[in-house]
Subunit: 243 residues, 2 copies
DNA sequence: CAGTGGTCTAGACCACCTG
DNA sequence: AGGTGGTCTAGACCACTGG
């Protein structure tokens, strides 16, 4: 009951609820800042923050002098596609196989361990609630029995509670996520790095062999859904595309 | 002041200037919000906006109760578009400089050397004519005197005969190409690799440090125009973007 | 023109970190 | 305990859009 949740977050969620429920359809204008401020009993600056953040997350679009509109559902416009490693490997190799290394739940207590604080920053504004949970899976993807990708993924349990019960040696994590949530926003980073020891071993590479790290953070309707580190052996993997 | 630029932008730029000038080094704390507010003669909320945006841009890191710190600067680049390294570096660093390492012409005889056969495959269907020529340029791009990119580029002389006469320490190769030929198609590849010795030296990195290689092949009206290898230090460069 | 978002103020209370 | 960022208020003026 007692919400120590910041007002701007309550407003963001309320707006998202309205969008999700279909009350505010894509392309239509939502109430003006001043109206929302009155409705929620807060100052306009607080509403402004909520709306501005949803704009940054591409849930809303604002036009000065005109209004604030619900953004159109966006398809994948030729940016980095959400790649499916299973399909990619099947295109280039004869045989694809996934080996699940770990599959576990991080509860409130685990999230409060210092080594997991960076996850809280990504998922829970650094302040996990007692009910917050993350699922973690580590999967090695093989092409013709050669490791191609080490996938280290965290998933917000509140959004996809059933994620942890899947058999990811037969179901691809990306496929499962795409089927169960509309992924609408994310950022990624691609780096060349030396991989940690355990990753090197899983990928069957030497410690000094460059690895290609593809990290991605994905949100759906303003909520962080998943963060994933995808490590690839530099010698067996490259990232390609067309302009 | 009667400047038309918003106060929060002036403050952002002032902070960036201090970082670029080295006054505020990576990892050190910058003045508190209230201090900056007094210094700039604005309210704390205005400073808050400036600092919060720089945090979102990963220029600063904030810790509640502790302070605001200059983040480890890491170069970031979206690789979807045809990017201009000069512009990118100018956005991120104070000073951009290009050093031309080599600039030469490969004639029919040179193209028939075994070590150049792969170029023939890319440009001339493996069968160069006597009149076929390629230009080659090697350029190191610096941000604040730190090497960010080693550019090794080959250009089809038949399409842009005047390419070789340009001064690429002042003109960007991409700019020149875009201005002189309609680039309509290309493919790229991104790899993690150990760079050749000469590239390591030019980039001022150790031989075992992973490098991020971005290779691109561009065509215009069905004719191969340019092939380029762009090497980046893994420690100072990453590709990033949004979905 | 009236309504909207863009920006800004001068305060305030709180949670958190560090000495 | 004192300083820091996190949040919030109740106003304000401006620039822009639309009818």
């Amino acid at each position: 009951m007692s919400n120590k949740t910041p007002a701007y977050l309550r407003i963001k969620n309320a707006i998202l609820d309205n969008i999700h429920a279909g009350t505010w359809a894509s392309g239509t204008a939502i109430p003006a800042e001043i109206t929302l401020a009155e409705d929620f009993g807060v100052s306009r600056m607080t509403v402004n923050r909520a709306v501005k953040e949803l704009e940054a997350e591409r849930v809303l679009e604002r036009r000065q002098g005109s209004g604030t509109y619900v953004a159109q559902q966006k398809y994948n416009n030729a940016h980095i596609e959400i790649r499916n490693i299973a399909k990619d490997i099947n295109e280039r190799f004869n045989h694809y196989r996934a080996q699940v290394i770990a599959q576990k739940t991080l509860d409130f207590e685990a999230l409060n361990q210092p080594e997991n604080h960076w996850l809280n920053a990504l998922f829970f504004h650094s302040q996990p609630a007692h009910t917050d949970k993350l699922y973690q899976v580590c999967i090695v993807h093989y092409g013709d029995d050669l490791p191609i990708q080490y996938e280290d993924r965290w998933v917000n349990a509140a959004i996809i509670p059933d994620f942890i019960n899947q058999d990811f040696s037969s179901i691809n994590t990306s496929d499962y996520l795409i089927d169960h949530v509309p992924l609408e926003y994310g950022d990624y980073q691609i780096q060349a790095k030396l991989a940690p020891i355990n990753v090197c071993e899983a990928l069957q590479i030497q410690a000094y062999e460059p690895a290609l790290l593809h990290a991605r953070h994905t949100k759906s309707q303003g909520q962080p859904v998943t963060f994933v580190n995808m490590w690839h052996p530099g010698s067996r993997f490259s990232f390609g595309g067309r302009l």
